[in-house]
């Protein structure tokens, strides 16, 4: 149980334990898949969006020679849980199951990651919670995986998808995933990252990782707009979407533009009941790292005012990704009252299962 007495309590809504290699997942696979991975010598299924040696993928002082970033519990304890002073942290494993060309392989790898997280991380560290990783390539199987994990273990607090999939996210192809998440009271986490089998920007493939990473908000805009226009917010009234590693600065002009346009063509999408400015404030949550809003000062205050809600932002370090130095992941310049809300109350309100941890 977690003590709630201190003002410095933090719930980190986005950390990334690293899968050390496929070998770690083999005990959690069927005989068939174990043979496939061993005999075909498949390994190195990290996402191309986060090349392990790229600067963005791990802060230099968190790197360990010969191991993928954040790939041992001892390291995560020392660097993240203790190092950043976290009361609770939500593990969002990023691994190849979410992007595999074979939906069957993707489903098998995702299930193995979930069991690996449960047995080797959650069972050994009471401060950790986890997202249920799903292969959205097969939404029916993904829904079954959500049922399997959510029913059997309340330490799973969210469903994790990537921002770029094979279709825009609001399409009814993905609705089985949303139905399952809503059934269990779990938010849908949408994390930065792409399958990389289509251009990572709408106007073509980037030539540098900088372009890929800096363009990520375009994908988040497109996906939130898709959820709006396809009527997902009306169809699933109890579902919250958490945008993870999306950055935050883009969302204000997005809300303005989307709302302005909707007012003129509302009749074309009558199942979209409310404009972006309302749905984002009520139904969208965003993790704060990487923080790409204004620097501390009047511009930051204006940005927070333009967001129009103190409920949107969730504390995150995005460990081990490299966005800040030192041990405080909270962007400087926020009022202490807002910072406390971001670090504690907002995560508890967003993830109902976290409340079960409180003493």
């Amino acid at each position: 149980m977690v003590n709630t007495g201190s003002d410095s309590m933090k719930i980190d809504c986005d950390i990334h334990p690293g899968v050390p290699g496929v070998e770690a997942l083999l005990p959690y696979m069927s005989d068939f898949w174990r043979e496939q991975f061993v005999n075909r010598e498949i390994d190195g299924m990290e996402l191309a969006s986060y090349p392990p040696t790229a600067p963005i993928s791990c802060r230099p002082d968190w790197r360990e020679k010969g191991r993928p970033p954040g790939s041992s519990l001892e390291t995560v304890r020392r660097q993240a849980l203790d190092g950043l002073g976290l009361s609770l942290a939500i593990c969002n494993p990023l691994y190849g199951g979410q992007v595999a060309m074979s939906e069957h392989m993707g489903t098998a790898v995702s299930a193995a990651v979930n069991d690996w997280i449960r047995h080797e991380w959650l069972d050994r560290e009471p401060r950790l919670r986890a997202s249920i990783v799903v292969a959205a390539q097969d939404p029916i199987a993904a829904a079954a995986e959500i049922d399997r994990c959510a029913s059997s273990d309340r330490r799973f607090v969210q469903v994790l998808m990537l921002v770029a999939n094979e279709l825009t996210l609001g399409r009814r192809y993905y609705w089985p995933i949303f139905e399952a998440a809503q059934r269990h009271g779990l938010p849908i986490g949408i994390h930065a990252g792409s399958m990389q089998r289509y251009p990572a920007t709408p106007t073509g493939s980037p030539t540098h990782l900088l372009q890929d990473y800096a363009s990520a908000p375009q994908m988040f805009c497109a996906q939130v707009q898709s959820l709006l226009c396809e009527g997902v917010f009306s169809k699933f009234p109890d579902l919250t979407f958490v945008l993870i590693e999306s950055g935050v600065g883009w969302v204000v002009p997005f809300m303005w533009r989307s709302t302005k346009t909707w007012r003129g063509v509302r009749g074309e999408v009558p199942w979209m009941k409310r404009p972006a400015i309302d749905e984002v404030r009520d139904r969208i949550r965003m993790t704060i790292q990487p923080f790409d809003g204004p620097d501390a000062g009047p511009d930051l205050e204006r940005f927070i005012e333009q967001l129009g809600s103190d409920d949107i932002l969730l504390f995150s370090s995005d460990y081990p990704h490299w966005h800040f130095e030192g041990s405080d992941a909270m962007p400087p310049g926020l009022s202490s009252e807002l910072a406390r809300k971001i670090a504690w109350q907002n995560p508890l309100n967003t993830y109902p299962r976290l409340r079960e941890s409180l003493s």
Binding site: R172, E230, G231, V232, R263, G264, R266, G267, W271
Partner: protein
């Protein structure tokens, strides 16, 4: 409020609209199947002339992809940006909590009951057996 005679009811056919000016303010009057409604003829967004908009029904939906259109002709769409306003109330449909056009009460009264006003004197011949449109403004 003063009652103003603004025209003959028969001058606006069902489904049509007419613009009048009262105390310098433009007002558009609609005939919805024999009921008359008035709106300030300025969109609250950027003051476009609402009388030039398309009268439509309203699309609604309880399920994505499954839409119905009701109240045909009872909404005016601003000709500039397409905002929809309920002709009966001036209420916007695209953002009802924030946006509304000022409505004016329009009645039809028999010729004998009228208080004579300047507009009537200038433009509308009084006919004891005709019905006239009255606007409170």
């Amino acid at each position: 409020m003063t009652k103003h005679v603004v025209g003959r009811a028969a001058d606006i056919a069902p489904g049509e609209r007419m613009v009048v000016t009262l105390k310098g303010r433009p007002i558009v009057i609609f005939n919805l199947s024999g009921e008359y409604f008035g709106l300030l003829n300025r969109c609250p967004h950027q003051s476009a002339d609402l009388s030039r908009g398309i009268a439509t029904g309203i699309a609604d939906s309880d399920e994505p992809g499954d839409a119905v259109c009701t109240r045909s002709g009872e909404f005016i769409r601003c000709p500039w940006h397409g905002w929809e306003f309920d002709i009966r109330t001036g209420q916007s449909w695209c953002d009802p909590s924030r946006i509304k056009v000022r409505p004016f009460t329009v009645r039809v009264e028999a010729g004998r009951a009228l208080v004579e006003g300047p507009y009537k004197a200038e433009a509308i011949p009084v006919s004891v057996d005709g019905d006239y449109l009255i606007v409170d403004a």
